[in-house]
């Protein structure tokens, strides 16, 4: 198994830049998510690691060895395609054995290995079937089997659950995660589904417009977003942005918004002009006493919690509160914010201002 280091990797297709100078490290045995909206360059990044695209510049290290210009066959990296790409003219057994045959492995050894992998994935009984008639889940398992059968240094997965229906997806994602924990293999997984990334990933890279926005654990990315894009992309509903004009100086522990003083984590970086007060819906509390008030626009009942949409002087805001709390549309309610979780952003650059909260995460990422 292996550590993968991406260093200043850039990819251009003619005039179009798919990936701009990206750097991050995937540690040995990590389940690593590349997350972003479509067209953000995450798949291109994955394909560059696997060798299906060659970077325009930059280096990729696999276990300390520079591999960015090597053909895929010499990288010992497996790839699971979104549409599975099982060889349609071969049966399941042949599909699974194909990567072994290319290594010149002996017939008996191939058979043992294929049966072992088929056992792990629970597909022994379909080995003789042609791949054409398989269900989505079985195709997925065969595609995984073809990847794990040769014990590669790392796995690349390009939205492997994207072609499955929602119900089966959850089951398969658990299976995948269990498989990873069992094999402990470095896995790079591309997805546009933030929930999938949060559920399965050890670490997440969030990409947007060919740029790496943030890189860290799911908790870090959720609680300490580096940019407004990340804050908006992760979480459902996403982080609330209350825009205001003002200044925060170094060491400040509150901001003044609409005449109200609101506490924030102690700021390390100063900022002025167009600022944004970022707060997650679950960190908003409703109270009659709150000085900062908003008018209830709508409520959505979600079982144990409810989402309340409010109109505040600084923009619309969603709060996730226990469903027992009563809020009627049109009512003006006081709002409270969990001060320790607040992130301030500079509106123009979209970047978070450093504070006690995110200093550790953002200064090394």
């Amino acid at each position: 198994m292996a550590e993968i280091v991406i260093k200043n990797v850039r990819k251009e297709f003619g005039d179009f830049t798919a990936v701009r100078e990206s750097s991050f490290t995937i540690e040995d045995g990590e389940f690593f998510m590349l997350l972003g909206p479509s067209g953000c360059g995450k798949t291109t990044t994955l394909r560059m690691i696997a060798g299906l695209e060659l970077p325009t510049s930059g280096e990729i290290y696999l276990d300390g060895e520079e591999i960015s210009q090597k053909p895929p066959s010499q990288r010992d990296i497996a790839f699971v395609f979104q549409m599975f790409a099982l060889y349609p003219h071969m049966n399941v057994y042949k599909n699974l054995s194909y990567p072994l045959v290319s290594q010149g492995m002996k017939r008996a050894a191939v058979r043992d290995k294929v049966h072992e992998v088929a056992g792990i994935l629970g597909i022994r009984d379909i080995l003789k079937k042609p791949v054409g008639g398989l269900s989505g889940g079985d195709r997925q398992r065969v595609a995984l089997g073809r990847a794990i059968v040769r014990d590669p240094k790392a796995f690349m997965m390009d939205e492997p659950l994207g072609a499955l229906d929602a119900e089966f997806r959850e089951h398969m994602s658990e299976e995948l995660r269990a498989l990873h924990d069992r094999m402990n293999a470095t896995t790079v997984y591309v997805t546009h589904d933030q929930l999938e990334a949060m559920q399965m990933g050890d670490k997440i890279v969030v990409m947007n417009n060919a740029v790496v926005e943030q890189f860290g654990t799911p908790q870090e990315i959720y609680d300490k977003p580096a940019t407004m894009f990340v804050a908006d992309f992760i979480g459902s509903p996403s982080m609330n942005f209350l825009e205001f004009q003002g200044t925060v100086s170094e060491g400040a522990q509150s901001v003044e918004m609409n005449g109200q003083k609101l506490s924030v984590p102690r700021q390390i970086q100063s900022g002025s002009g167009n600022l944004v007060f970022g707060v997650r819906p679950e960190h908003v509390t409703l109270s009659d006493s709150g000085e900062y008030r908003g008018e209830v626009l709508a409520t959505e009942y979600l079982g144990t919690t409810q989402i309340i949409t409010l109109d505040t002087p600084n923009g619309e805001l969603k709060a996730r509160v226990p469903s027992g709390q009563v809020a009627t549309v049109g009512e003006k309610i006081g709002l409270g914010f969990d001060a320790s979780t607040i992130t301030l952003f500079d509106r123009n650059s979209g970047k978070a201002l450093l504070s006690e909260l995110n200093e550790e995460v953002l200064s090394n990422g």
Partner: protein, 312 residues
């Protein structure tokens, strides 16, 4: 009982469609049947008017097709009684068999040239189509247009330059010359048809093979080719039919060693003029290889023609 499905045709329309197809098939088969029957007629029956539908079948046409004959004196004929059934047929006209005709050779030439050029067209066409489909080729669209443009006038329009060129190069009346010529004519069709088929094969299959440790060529050979089989088969049929039936260039450029069957068959001379049964016999035998080839690849051809019309 009427059918309950909207898409299922009703019984009456099925009947109508079936009848129409059968009538059409019968009409198109009349000339073919005519040729095949004529091959078994005697020369007199073949040219009788009104045409004879019922006649006494004879293998005379086939015997004449495969042999050359000479007239002999009555003494000679009396001294040498016929030894075989085909000798006997020839004796009706006071003739003996002098030797085999050139039909066998000409037929073999057709096979060599027809299948040779088909193979070469498919071989080059597949490689070119793959390259056009998968690689970034500078001016790819212009090159493809250029390849297509070679078919924008009838090939025979350049017969004279080709005739002169072949004479200079020593390619006249050679197998190689004819194979090259038919390949040149067919290659544009092959490239365009095959490019369409290869475009339809997702790249992921090759990428999977690359990841699985194969080289680009192995991926092409082991993964792309089997999936392009349908396209290759239908393209091969089109190429073979053209090369097999081609007449004009064959008349112009071949006369001896490399002469194919089409220019040879009409030259079969019988007793007192054209021997129609022998010509018909030659045409019948000539039809067989393409028929067998087409029937053998029929499944692929049908799938090939409708390929791309319905996406899975």
């Amino acid at each position: 009982m009427s059918s309950f499905s909207v898409t299922e045709p009703s019984k009456r329309s099925k009947w109508f469609a079936g009848t129409l197809v059968i009538v059409y098939a019968l009409i198109t088969m009349v000339p073919l049947a005519w040729i095949m029957l004529t091959g078994f007629k005697s020369p007199a029956d073949a040219i009788s008017y009104p045409p004879k539908v019922l006649f006494e079948p004879t293998l005379e046409g086939y015997v004449n097709l495969f042999t050359t004959r000479t007239r002999q004196t009555d003494e000679f004929l009396a001294a040498n009684p016929p030894e075989t059934w085909y000798e006997e047929i020839v004796r009706q006209y006071d003739m003996v068999i002098a030797g085999p005709s050139k039909f066998g050779e000409r037929f073999l030439n057709s096979v060599i040239i027809g299948f040779g050029s088909t193979f070469l067209s498919i071989f080059l066409g597949t490689l070119a189509a793959y390259a056009f489909s998968r690689f970034k080729i500078p001016l790819a669209d212009d090159l493809l247009f250029f390849i297509l443009s070679t078919r924008m006038m009838p090939p025979i329009a350049v017969a004279i330059p080709i005739f002169l060129m072949y004479r200079q190069l020593g390619l006249s009346d050679t197998h190689l010359g004819m194979i090259l010529l038919y390949t040149a004519v067919n290659i544009s069709l092959a490239v365009w048809l095959l490019k369409g088929f290869i475009d339809e094969i997702p790249r992921e299959y090759e990428e999977a093979a690359l990841i699985d440790g194969y080289t680009r060529f192995q991926a092409f050979y082991k993964v792309v080719l089997p999936q392009a089989a349908t396209g290759i088969a239908s393209t091969a049929i089109f190429c073979l039919i053209f090369a097999w039936n081609e007449y004009a260039f064959a008349v112009l450029l071949t006369s001896g060693t490399a002469q194919t069957a089409p220019p040879f068959i009409p030259t079969i001379i019988g007793v007192g003029g054209l021997d129609w049964p022998a010509v018909a016999a030659g045409a019948t035998i000539f039809l067989l290889p393409v028929m067998i080839f087409t029937v053998a690849l029929r499944k692929h051809l049908l799938r090939g023609i409708t390929f791309g019309a319905v996406r899975k």
